[in-house]
């Protein structure tokens, strides 16, 4: 465990000594809860329609696939006309695009970012690396099956998929959300122990709380 995460005694500027346990004091480690639909179907449908028209993507590129998002942000493909935009922080976004190969080291950051996103949230796997490892199928450092670690709503296959394929992916994701099937956050909460066990199986130096929103 890193030094800054260890329990220690700190002397404040006023000379008062106090104990800090970063993993306990700085993070919330309560497990996520399932939030089932609470309103009648027609209201939920309207919510889902609204959600589907506001796909805000976390600006976090994990692999080479992130390069496909630049033409989407710019006038050539202009994804903004579909209500898709990129946000700089997980707190403001509801779609996480895992763009290509995902190394174990990045997976750790991805889990932290994903857990900080607000529900309802969606995950899109981009490229063959997230599906079955792609060309990194025998790599010592990249995971091969993304849905073992995060609830994936949609995969966009290809190596690399063109920006058009991503636009099609957004349209398909909208259909999934409108049908009320974009339940990734609830699936994650329901199978929390299973996901955590899978994550800890590959991340050998787990030095964060189990849930850190």
């Amino acid at each position: 465990m890193k030094d800054e995460l260890k329990k220690r005694t700190i002397k404040g500027p006023d000379g008062f000594e106090f104990e800090v346990d970063p993993l306990h004091d700085y993070y919330c480690d309560a497990p996520p809860k399932v939030h089932p639909p609470v309103y009648v179907k027609i209201v939920e449908d309207m919510f889902n329609w609204a959600r589907s028209e506001s796909i805000w993507i976390l600006g976090f590129g994990t692999g080479c696939g992130a390069i496909e998002m630049r033409p989407l942000m710019t006038p050539r493909f202009d994804a903004y006309r579909y209500g898709v935009q990129w946000r700089p922080t997980p707190r403001q976004s509801n779609l996480f695009i895992i763009s290509g190969y995902l190394s174990v080291k990045t997976l750790k950051r991805v889990i932290r970012s994903y857990e900080q996103m607000q529900s309802p949230k969606y995950v899109m796997g981009l490229g063959s690396c997230t599906i079955n490892g792609g060309m990194y199928w025998d790599s010592y450092n990249t995971i091969k099956k993304l849905d073992e670690y995060l609830p994936v709503d949609l995969y966009v296959a290809g190596c690399m998929p063109r920006p058009e394929a991503l636009l099609k992916g957004f349209e398909d994701l909208k259909k999934i959300i409108r049908a009320g099937e974009g339940e990734g956050a609830n699936i994650y909460a329901e199978n929390f122990d299973w996901y955590k066990a899978n994550q800890k199986k590959v991340i050998h130096d787990w030095d964060m709380p189990d849930y850190n929103w």
Binding site: S139, I143, K144, E148, D205
Partner: protein, 177 residues
């Protein structure tokens, strides 16, 4: 150009053989004791002021690591690689971070990926790229990366491999004609 430099260096240092790959790219094998003096000579007297890279090759059959120090002479547009051999068991090498500060980063990488130790190099034992690595260093050739991936990462069923020639034959001539 390479051969004149080699003849010049040979007067001062005991050198191994020269592999001249191009007019302006050559490799010289040196004993590790002479490496440091040779690097300093090249840097200060011959104008090889830039350390392009420091990397290793695992000659597992011979039980040695080959360290390659690639230097560049900007004025003459000339690159020279120095090869030093270190035994594989308890691999360790003298640090050159005081000759080129950038070497410290390469040495950190070599320690993590090959397990070659460079005592005195700043931060050489700090974690660098890998996090929570539990196996032998992954660039060593006795590390089986496929086996490691199969044991650690879940495999998705349904991945098929086809011989391209056979596959296209079947697609284009399904009757076997």
């Amino acid at each position: 150009m390479m051969h004149t430099l080699y003849a010049e260096l040979k007067k001062h240092f005991p050198l191994g053989e020269l592999t001249a790959q191009r007019e302006n790219l050559g490799f010289i094998t040196v004993e590790r004791e002479h490496l440091r003096a040779l690097l300093l000579h090249l840097r200060d007297k011959e104008g090889y002021t830039h350390l392009v890279l420091l990397t290793a090759v695992d000659w597992i059959e011979d039980g040695i690591f080959q360290l390659t120090y690639l230097l560049s002479n900007r004025d003459k547009r000339c690159d020279l690689g120095l090869r030093a051999m270190v035994p594989r068991d308890g691999a360790s090498m003298e640090s050159i971070h005081d000759v080129w500060p950038t070497a410290a980063t390469y040495q950190r990488e070599l320690f993590e990926m090959f397990g070659i130790d460079f005592p005195d190099s700043p931060g050489v034992h700090d974690p660098f790229i890998l996090e929570g690595w539990i196996e032998i260093p992954p660039y060593r050739r006795d590390f089986d990366t496929k086996k490691f991936a199969e044991e650690n990462f879940t495999h998705r069923e349904g991945r098929e491999t086809n011989d391209p020639a056979e596959y296209m034959k079947k697609q284009l001539y399904p009757d076997g004609a």
